[in-house]
Symmetry: C2
Subunit: 405 residues, 2 copies
């Protein structure tokens, strides 16, 4: 008897009919002799409707109350799925994040899981129930409702899988795995059967859209093997696990394009020590995640500092930096969303030299200008114009021979 954690995203539980389909799938897993814990998101569209409602009563809804509000989305789904399962004759019971023992810190709307005490989960499993848990949410030690931010349901599933020592963690979504590139842009992209945490992390961080990076980080930290697969078919998905030697044989695992970035530039910065620290401390204090940073060579005693952030944080970045710009005597701070980040990812590049050269040659051969470059041990990213993004991705995907037959 295996203990299986399944996570279903908002699209998979998007309406009563789909919830009943998920119930069938959970029942089949249970009937195959397994214990099942199911983590669900809010029905697709619900979270956005709630945010809209909140904005009708407050232009910038306070975050504690936003969490109380948003938590109702997953609570609705767990009740409906538990009902649907009971309708099929299964034993099932729902638990909110708090009831499932998910304790978080107090950073409302972006809380981090501190620990999980799955006492009630085990009790329900032991009495033969499928346990349906609200993803995306938890509570602080003081009993305030919190949410984990976008993509938080994946994190809930992986954290619960670690806490209950699950044999398998299946992340059901509306795509049936991780591809060498976004199939909507590159039709001959092929499904990756196995990928290492580090590669998945880079793919996730780079906007492959399948999962948030922090869920993968959590899985890596606790060595939770998980599979990304579709809730609409029975195809095998992509298994994400610790790196194996065989994985190194492939130079590049995939190509990712992230169009949801914006570039923030502080122009005319006096070239003095401590300036960069001031800038990035301000950004960090505002809980804005930055990605690529470039500081141009100094000219006439001033320099430009550019960095990229998620496009939803662009306006906030400019706002919090206005006083800093004044303080340090820089000229101005501006932001543009007309950029994309294109990356190639693969642990194979550690043992196969020349990946960067090949990538830059390919872009040059297609007349695509490179704005910023950032590299890690297993990834090379370039910032290019948004308009060039798809053409560049296709060229790189071909150049590294990633296409399927």
């Amino acid at each position: 008897m295996a203990l299986i954690v399944q996570k279903y995203g908002g699209t998979s539980v998007g309406n009563p009919e789909r919830i009943k389909n998920v119930a069938q799938r959970v029942l089949a897993t249970q009937q195959a002799g397994n214990q099942v814990v199911v983590v669900v998101s809010a029905m697709s569209g619900v979270t956005d409707s709630l945010i809209k409602l909140a904005k009708e009563v407050h232009a910038e809804p306070p975050e504690r109350e936003m969490d109380v509000l948003l938590a109702t989305g997953e609570q609705t789904t767990i009740a409906l799925l538990a009902m649907a399962l009971q309708g099929l004759g299964a034993k099932a019971a729902s638990l909110t994040g708090a009831q499932a023992g998910i304790v978080t810190d107090g950073l409302h709307t972006k809380a981090k899981i501190a620990n999980i005490t799955p006492k009630r989960v085990h009790e329900l499993l032991d009495s033969g129930h499928a346990v349906i848990i609200a993803g995306f949410q938890g509570e602080t030690p003081e009993g305030h409702i919190t949410t984990l931010g976008r993509g938080g349901s994946d994190l809930s599933a992986i954290a619960i899988a670690a806490a209950v020592k699950a044999d398998v963690c299946q992340i059901y979504t509306d795509v049936d795995g991780v591809y060498t590139a976004d199939p909507r842009i590159i039709p001959d992209a092929k499904k990756i059967l196995e990928i290492s945490y580090d590669e998945m992390l880079e793919m996730a961080a780079l906007g492959s859209k399948v999962m948030q990076a922090r869920s993968v980080e959590f899985a890596k930290k606790f060595n939770v093997v998980f599979e990304v697969r579709s809730s609409f078919n029975n195809n095998p998905g992509t298994i994400v696990k610790a790196e194996t030697q065989k994985m190194e044989d492939v130079v590049i695992r995939g190509v990712a394009v992230d169009k949801k970035q914006a570039k923030v530039t502080i122009a005319g910065v006096p070239d003095k020590p401590g300036i960069a620290a001031k800038v990035f401390k301000t950004i960090a204090d505002a809980h804005i995640n930055i990605d690529v940073i470039v500081q141009n060579v100094s000219a006439n005693g001033t320099t430009d500092i550019s960095f990229t952030v998620g496009d939803t944080d662009a306006a906030k970045s400019v706002k919090v930096l206005q006083p800093v710009v004044k303080d340090i005597g820089a000229r101005e701070v501006t932001a543009t969303g007309e950029i994309a980040k294109l990356s190639v990812v693969g642990i194979g590049m550690r043992s196969h030299p020349g990946v960067a050269a090949k990538m830059f040659e390919t872009l040059a051969g297609n007349s695509i200008n490179i704005g910023m470059i950032s590299t890690s041990e297993i990834k090379i990213s370039v910032i290019i114009a948004l308009a060039d993004a798809e053409k560049a991705a296709r060229a790189i995907h071909d150049a590294f021979g990633l296409a399927g037959k």
Copy 2:
């Protein structure tokens, strides 16, 4: 500084605009130097939508999960109202029923409040917050979410008022008080300024629709003085409190019509001891509340037993009684919803004889046939044909001189 509990029903918080209006009202109460606890219902229509959704996944939704689902309705309102208050610059925080310390028994969808430990309510009040609490809900000592059934938000408000020892409890609704009769039926009905718990209980139990009887019972038990008033204007409402001597001067406080009753009849019941006990134990075990009971005189060794229940319980009553009918050798059990209960209520009738005679004469004078009669110390009820209900109410209201100027 007074401590005021305010309760707003579903219509009063029916959309973002109305929630903002409620926030204004709460803020004004706070700015007048009071501490405020607000109890809210789900936005009007939300509970019904959730029930509809549940029925799409399960024909008879299991009650534990129904409570998990329905509890999201009030949770949505508390978050929105707390946001709206903060938008006005007020300090405010929301609490779910469980967070507010409302502990209930485990009878899902119809739970009873066992006790309230308002520790967090006091903490928030002490730090200057308006405390916004989800009505209608609580949790069992084991941590399962429960709901209190229809009208449960009033009960929450009165129970919280008792627990925090509030100075005033205001029940805001879409009518501006309790009237001598339903103004939609009898346009010259007038508002009652003060009414005793017992009278209000009879009015409530008889379908005056303003409040559920058990909320009034709770208020009586803990001597919570409350006021029923409108959230759409500033008119004084109806104060409900312990009986005073002055109240006895009025013979009849009001006339109530309850069209939401059904009559269940068991025909051909053998006239033997223990039969009635068997029938009503079965009904009680099914958690069905009965109202008027009549047993006809025995003829040929058999009799008919009739009683009234809420019309939503009629089908269930017939269903649970089928085996009993067989068991006791009765002929059949049937139900009809084509009846109404008309009642006159007033503690004055204890010291003013002849009320029943006047009522029956008035009905006879209007050619209205009386099917069943039931009396208490302060109430006389008759079951009549549904079609006669409004005509009868108007005649009785006039006969007792209840009309306003």
